[in-house]
Subunit: 338 residues, 2 copies
Amino acid sequence: MGDKRRPAAKGKTPATIYDIARITGVNPSTVSRALNQPGRVSASTEQRIREAAADLGYRTNPMARALPTGKTGNLGLLVSDLTNPVYFDLVRGAERIAREHDAMLIFADSQESAELERSTAERLQIAVDGLLLVASRLEDAQIQELAAAKPIVAVNRPVPGVPSVAPDVRPGMVEALDLLHGLGHRRIAYLAGPEASWMNGMKWVTAHDLAVDRGMSIVEIQSSAPTREGGTDAFADVMAAEVTAVLAYNDLVALGLLGACRRHGVEVPRDLSLIGFDDIFGADLSAPALSTVRCSWGDMGSRAVAKLLGAIEGDASGAELNLPTEFVARDSVAAPRR
Amino acid sequence: MGDKRRPAAKGKTPATIYDIARITGVNPSTVSRALNQPGRVSASTEQRIREAAADLGYRTNPMARALPTGKTGNLGLLVSDLTNPVYFDLVRGAERIAREHDAMLIFADSQESAELERSTAERLQIAVDGLLLVASRLEDAQIQELAAAKPIVAVNRPVPGVPSVAPDVRPGMVEALDLLHGLGHRRIAYLAGPEASWMNGMKWVTAHDLAVDRGMSIVEIQSSAPTREGGTDAFADVMAAEVTAVLAYNDLVALGLLGACRRHGVEVPRDLSLIGFDDIFGADLSAPALSTVRCSWGDMGSRAVAKLLGAIEGDASGAELNLPTEFVARDSVAAPRR
DNA sequence: CGATGTCATGGAATCGTTTCCATGGCGGAA
DNA sequence: TTCCGCCATGGAAACGATTCCATGACATCG
């Protein structure tokens, strides 16, 4: 099997600073300085070293660098469910900023399980310089504990003492509730997400307060999961609630409910108005196109990474950042039947 | 700024095998053996060492391990466009298998640019044990060159001498063409994807051959991009082609075209039948729901990772793996107008 | 003109782990 | 009983880069 030292060694071993040092006749430490600390060595040697490096196709070995410096150049991104289309834009935004800063993004998902999230976070943490926790199902204390080891930025949820980036759901919901009220809706429902989700609680209390302010009554309906299936399953409960409009935890459940309505002959928006949350890919595809409250997930991703990079650099500005939301009017909302 | 050695050091430094060695009174090398080579040390010392390790919350430092072994425990996943919903399932499948094998997935996207793809692949390669190249826009030779350095598995495209996983588009397209032919379509179009895409060429020749076999005529229509915008932009060309059915490169362009049709009063499927490719999230959401050829992207992801892990272990079974596709009948196909 | 400071560079320790080699103890075979 | 070999473990050298400290060559200042 293994003939020499490296069993599956295919190509020749990559060039190291020692190779460069040998070729240019300087000490490895000088090579290191030339490559990383501009102006620290004489212009002529730096020139020679850079040329040799280019010749050899030298690339810094990140593992070797990580050892003495303690910096891996990796950022971890832990989401509750990679399958959820919301994360698409988030990932993209995060990736963009990470690339700009020469950092690599390491991914993991926790399958909506708090226990799995904790163990994954711990494992991930040793391989990265900082961690992005998206829609965490962990308790505040657990997150704070993780944050004591390495920088953490929480996304889509604030955690005391930990920097975070989250949407400010209020502006979008104000628009939504104003619209519903203006059209004559007086009894509406909030189709809830996971109980462990901070954001779910936030949306419920906001919707509740806003509805009450406007003299509307609002009921909370549980869903089995924050997915299309969850929305489908909630159909019967929604019908039983006798409301004229539904505000959903997210677009996925809204879309699921929409499908169930169609199959049962309940016409949206004539018989029921429906508002989602997130404006995911596909929200404008459904028939009718889904009205929704848009969070700028791409922005959240890039802001969160920027914040994390700052924290890694020692920026202790552990602020909480809130990005505004806005209502996107499409075709799933109308005046109630009578 | 930096007070001590590590500037932003928050928590205490993690435990090392030296700590364990000190506590248990053995040599660090023994600790290493106890933890990684079962049976290599006496049962009693192994027991003591494991207990101490657990007490200290010891976790192997992957960077330190990578240095002597050359194995990082990371796999790279490079896709042409992270934004494309097709990759959702792929990522999920890949992540599942990677997790099962204790490997971490590192992500990058190349924004549909061959040059960016090459440089990103090179950068990524030094940080991983192997690379997954999804829908690569690179030339065969370039991929082979990369594969000479470290194991590579190509996804969605075969490369001579490099293991690959790709859908076998034929079965699904046979079903699709049979359906169209049976309904009476005689003149159809293929709405193409990127020219640099191997898969695009594959789909075109397959569609072409299949159409000719059945006595249908088929034209190729270019699109500006494999996105919804690309589909929208192609509307005029599609109309000008005077066909009764369109087979699209993927669901995204199909969906874009569908939207354009709706806006221009062309009713699908009455005036035009439309078939997509991939069965992405949302394909069943549109009105009418999109008929499409489904590739099992989740399977491709997990198979590809498994193959890559095998290659890393030295399994030189550089086979080409093809996963079957199937036609998914929904509502965007009907008999032609007259 | 000698003392001092600066600059470019060399030398060596270090990061945490793996692994090759050495060593001592013990059991079994002769 | 003696010798050989194995087994558990210790010791030390890598892996590739960073970084602190040392050194010698100059230039500068008084």
